[in-house]
Each structure stands twice: as C-alpha cells, then as structure tokens.
C-alpha cells in the first residue's frame, strides 16, 4: 500500500500550544483539506491514464501499474543521472508514452473488439514488465528525497510536495478538458471513439487516433508514476499499490464521459477515503473505497459518468 500521508510526517502529532481556538480550528480545517486533496489527487492521477484508454478505446490496460512503475524508475534514474526532477518527470512521461505507442502498434491493436482477450494480453505484458524489471534492477531501487520539504500551518507540518500534486492534478484536469473538448485532435479522437466507421468516412485516420490515445494514456500513467516516485519505496511491484485504487476509480467512473467522470469520481471517492482514513486509519480508508465501489456499482451499473449521461439525455 501507499506509504506517506499524514502519519509519516514528524510534526504531525504535535499540536501547537498557541492557545487561540481559531488558529486551532484553522489548523483542523487545513488538515482536513490537505487530506482530502491528497486522496483526490492520488485517485485522479493514478486513474486518469487508465480512464482515458478505457473510456476512449474500451481497452482495459492491466499493465497500467507497470507503466506507472516504468515512469517512476525512469524519473528516478534520470534524476540520479543529473536531470532536475521536474524535467525527469516530463522525460519519463514521454518515454512511457512512446513505449505505449509501440506496444499498441505491436500487440494491443490486435485486440480491439475483443475485450476479455485484451485483458489477458495486457496482463501477460504486465507480468513480463514487472518480472523483467526484477531481473534487471533487483528487488528495490533507492528513491529520491521528496522535493520541496515541509510547510507548517497552525503548528502542524505538511509535505508541500503533496499539495503541489493536488495542484498538478487540477492543472492536468483543465489541460485534458481543453485537449479533448477544444482542440481539433480532441474532436477527432472523440469522433473516432464514438463511431469509428463514420469517423473513418469523414477522413479521420482512426487507427492513428487509437495509437495516439493509447500513447497519451500511457504517458499519463508514466507521469503519475514519476510524480509519486519520491513518496514511496520503488520496487518492480510499485504499480500494484496504485492498481486497486485506480481500478476502483475507473469502475465507479464508467466509460461514458471520461474527464467529467474521472473528476466527479475522484472527488467522491476522495471524500469517502479521506473521511474513513481520517477516522479509522489508512487501511480502513482503502477498504471503504472498495465497499463504496461495490455499493455504487450495485446502484449505478454504468458508473457515475454513464448515469450522468443517461440523465442528461432524459433532460433533453
């Protein structure tokens, strides 16, 4: 499971003795916001690549965790080789994106329209990548220090980096929305996903669209993996710790409206996970996530985005 969060920070437990109740209240509120933002950003970032590939192409990439692991390894190795951390993160996303595009051309492309088989194939890929990394780099890799250090609010210390991650998540959301809803590429991609034949007839190269979309999804997985690399131990099974929360987010979100679904789902699940881990600890938070997913799916089988879409259609 994910390391980090509030409990690892040294100053976390010491309540300051400023005495002023409004400062304490502010501290409480800030702590809660920090926790929720952290949860939401984690869910959003770890799931977004998966959601794009699933929502746009219908392919479930079970090697998602391994793509994240590749991103993390690339970023850490690049940083150790002397690149500044932000540049290594970008480099890592590009590399993983490229890797994804090659993989799409070689293997994934054969499984469009055969979803269960694609699931099995991507699992085979994930096994090869993670075990290959184990042979290549050994059971663990020393990670880099968390950048930015801590900030103190009302006597409690917080990791500034985790706040930055939340900001990055929000920024990424805006960029994605812009790319898929306001650019020509986004329009073509969505067209290809909605009805490949008609899009093809309109002169869109759907096979290239699929390749790019898979590349973007992979790049986002690498990006998320690289961003979270400094927060935990790096190992070939690094991706596995993201897998459960990422898949829960994807399942609850559904594939209908990718960006809207990802946003609403990570906020909703972030609140559920944040609240329960605040009250009962990280582990119970994770269990609550699964329980919530089961209940939500029992009520909304097409996921939140599917529900919103059918509601939208009815309203029209």
């Amino acid at each position: 499971m994910r390391l980090g969060g509030l409990e690892e920070l040294p100053g976390c437990q010491d309540s300051s003795r400023l005495g002023a109740t409004d400062v304490q209240l502010f501290g409480e509120i800030f702590g809660a916001i920090y926790l929720y933002l952290d949860s939401m950003a984690f869910l959003f970032l770890s799931a977004v690549g998966l959601i794009i590939i699933l929502g746009m192409m219908g392919i479930t990439n079970l090697a998602h965790g391994e793509f994240m692991m590749l991103g993390a390894y690339t970023a850490v190795l690049a940083t150790r080789a002397g690149l500044p951390f932000p540049i290594s993160v970008v480099f890592a996303s590009l590399m993983v994106g490229l890797f994804g595009m090659v993989l799409e051309r070689l293997i994934i492309r054969r499984f469009y329209g055969n979803l269960l088989q694609s699931l099995v194939a991507t699992w085979g890929i994930s096994l090869i990548i993670s075990q290959g990394m184990l042979v290549l780099m050994g059971p663990s890799l020393q990670t880099i220090r968390m950048p930015l250090g801590g900030i103190t609010v009302a006597g409690k210390a917080y990791a500034a980096y985790r706040l930055l991650l939340a900001v990055i998540a929000i920024g990424l959301l805006i960029v994605m929305w812009y790319v898929f809803h306001r650019t020509k590429f986004g329009m073509r991609a969505r067209g290809a996903m909605q009805n490949a034949e008609i899009a093809e007839a309109m002169g869109i190269n759907t096979s290239r669209m699929y390749q790019f979309t898979f590349g973007i999804g992979s790049a986002l997985a690498g990006f998320a993996g690289a961003l979270y690399a400094p927060t935990t131990v790096l190992a070939p099974l690094y991706g596995a710790s993201f897998l459960a929360p990422a898949f829960v987010t994807v399942v609850v979100s559904g594939g209908a409206n990718v960006i809207q679904g990802a946003l609403i789902t990570s906020v909703l699940l972030g609140i559920i996970e944040g609240t329960s881990s605040r009250l009962y600890g990280t582990f119970i938070g994770r269990m609550a996530l699964l329980a919530a997913a089961m209940v939500i799916l029992r009520v909304l089988p097409t996921g939140i985005s599917g529900y919103l879409e059918t509601r939208g259609e009815r309203a029209r």
């Binding site: 054969r110 088989q117 090869i128 897998l243 898949f247 994807v250």
Partner: protein, 363 residues
C-alpha cells in the same frame, strides 16, 4: 426411471455436446491415464508423489475458472482470493477443532462452503448490479488485492481466532493435515485423496456443463441478452457458476494448506493471482481437461525453472500467455486436439466441425 437408465442418462450427459473428447478413443485414453495415475505411487519416488499431489491440488481452481470463463465468459482475476479464503478458513477451523472433534471434516467443508458463500456475495453485487464484461474482471482483481492487504495487516496477537494466529505477512503456520479420524493424510494417502477428488470433480463438472443448467450458462456466456429474453434467469445462472468456481478455488486452498501446513497473504497477491488465468488460458479455457493438464504441466515447468535457478520463470509464463492469446486464442490443447482430429477419419472431422459450428463452446 430405473437405476440403470438413470445412470446411463448421467453418462450420456457427461458425454454431452459441450465437452471436447467424446470419442471411444478418448475414453480409453482417459481410463489408461487415470489407471496409470492410480498406480503411480507404487513405482514413483516419494518426492514425485508429493510433488504431483501439490500440482493436482491446483487443478480445482483451474477447473472452476474454466467453468466461469470458458463456459460463462466471465473472466475472474480473483480466484486466488477464494483459494486464500479456503486455506485460511480450513486452517482456522482445523487448528481450533481438531483436538475436540478428532477429524478435519468440518474444516474441509468450511474451506469449501465459506469461499462458495463469499463468491456468491461478491457475485450478488456484481451480477445483480448488472456489472458486465471487463468490469467484472476488474472488480475481482480489486477484491483479491484488497483481501491480500487485509490479511497482510493481521500480524500480532490481536488477530487471533481461537487458537489460530492469522500472522500477517508471516502467514498462518502449523495447519494440520486433512484427517478423517485416524491419522492425517500424508504422502501416498493424500495423493489418492486428491487424485480421486480431481477425477470425480472433473466428471461432475462435465455433467454440470452438459446439463440443462450448463446449457443456460453457455448461452448466457455467448449472448446474455438473447438468453434473458428466452426466459433464463441469467443473473442467477452467473451467480451460481461464480459461486461454484469460488468453492472449487476454496478446495484448492484447503488442499494447498493441508499439503504445506501454512499459508501467507501473498497467495492472493498480484503475481499469484495471474497463475490460474495463465494455466487456463494456455491450456484452453473451454476444456476442463485442458485446464487440468496445463495446470500440472505449467507447474512442473515453473518448478523445474525455479529449481535450476532461473529467474525467468514468470517472464516465460507471461510471454507464453501473450503468445497463446495472440496466436492460439482457443488454447494449446484444443488446437493440438483439433490437429489430431483432422488426421482422424473424415466422419469424425465432420462431426467435430458440426458440433463446433452449432455452438462454438465446449467444456
């Protein structure tokens, strides 16, 4: 209906259209191999017998997966979770009741029934929630991962059920052998027990798949909407198949812990969770027998690689999975069987192609 006709009815159903291997040649070969397996401990070394017992213990989870995936088109990545549940439940009950009861029959039954019920509960949420396709697979995968995490944090004295310590990542130890009242099953006696269970389970599953229920399951797998319109309760059909597969996985778990006397949460981890899928996919998911053979062969192969010190066992398994999915989607054994069938008489070839075009699914 008198007894003999009921029995021949059973045999006819076992030999029904949904199974690969229905010719007289097949049954003769089946009898010869089964007979050979029963005589195996007479001449093989103790090590080989114990080893083969271990391999055969895993065939139950593979048969269960073959039932839901091959027939019902439900791909579950969570079968190892039920193996884990079966193993832990057997361990908990056996450790607590062996002295009082004098046998492990309650533990054995519990290790099958509890995973059956848990699978039914999970299946209720999944199938009655009308979750379908890949989402089912993802939910089962998440279920396994969460269960592994849960068992991993059960270290310490706090996590104790009666006399049984759950033990966190160190696992549960000193789990007794299967015991029917005199002494625990070990070595050859455990071998005969597992072998008999395996043969009986195989025949029963062939019966199930070719029964009225099996027809419904296969139909649901190939076209759920049409099957539902035809009046089948497809939710219940899927739920039941999933629960049976869970119970079979539980049985694998029971036999595994009774064989090795311990279990750890990593049984349910991501790497392990991929094993049943690999066995079944490589062998041929639509045939129970293919699942059995490939489970035993691939385990033997993995063990051989591990013993020779190769780190590449899992990479090779992953590559094998990928190659099979790419080039032999039906699996290795049905593809081979098809080739052999083509060498046979033209009549048989026609029958094969007829039966394949009739449904495209077999067990």
């Amino acid at each position: 209906m008198n007894k003999t006709s009921r029995f021949s009815n059973f045999l006819n159903t076992v030999n029904g259209p949904f199974s690969i291997g229905r010719s007289a040649v097949f049954w003769v070969a089946f009898l010869i191999v089964t007979g050979y397996l029963y005589f195996f401990p007479r001449f093989a070394s103790r090590y080989d017998v114990i080893n083969l017992t271990y391999f055969m213990s895993w065939t139950f989870v593979a048969m269960g997966l073959s039932l839901i995936w091959g027939c019902g088109n439900i791909l579950s990545f969570g079968q190892m979770a039920f193996v884990g549940i079966g193993g832990y439940v057997y361990g908990i009950i056996a450790i607590n009741t062996l002295d009082a009861v004098g046998n492990t029959i309650p533990a054995l039954l519990g290790g099958i029934i509890i995973p059956f019920l848990v699978a039914a509960l999970l299946g209720y949420f999944v199938f009655y929630g009308r979750v379908s396709g890949v989402y089912v697979s993802i939910m089962t995968l998440v279920f396994t991962l969460v269960l592994e995490t849960f068992m991993g944090q059960t270290a310490g004295d706090k996590w104790r059920v009666g006399k049984a310590l759950l033990g966190g990542y160190n696992g549960m130890t000193n789990i007794p052998s299967i015991n029917f009242g005199s002494t625990g099953l070990k070595g050859a006696s455990l071998y005969y027990f597992v072998l008999t269970l395996m043969v009986v389970t195989y025949l029963l599953l062939r019966y199930l798949v070719n029964s009225k229920y099996g027809v419904g399951l296969v139909a649901t797998g190939s076209n759920p909407d049409r099957t539902e319109v035809l009046g089948y309760n497809i939710r219940l059909i899927q739920l039941l198949a999933f629960a049976i597969a869970g119970g079979l996985a539980g049985l694998s778990g029971v036999l595994y812990v009774a064989w090795g006397h311990y279990i750890t949460p990593s049984t349910m981890g991501l790497t392990n969770a991929s094993l049943p899928v690999i066995w079944v996919a490589v062998g041929g998911r639509k045939s129970m027998l293919a699942a059995i053979i490939s489970t035993i062969v691939l385990q033997y192969f993995t063990q051989y690689l591990a013993v020779t010190g190769s780190e590449f066992a899992l990479i090779i398994l992953g590559a094998l999975l990928l190659i099979v999915v790419l080039y032999m989607p039906a699996g290795v054994i049905p593809t081979l069987a098809n080739c052999i069938g083509k060498l046979g008489s033209k009549r048989r070839q026609e029958a094969l192609s007829n039966s394949q075009s009739r449904r495209g699914v077999g067990a």
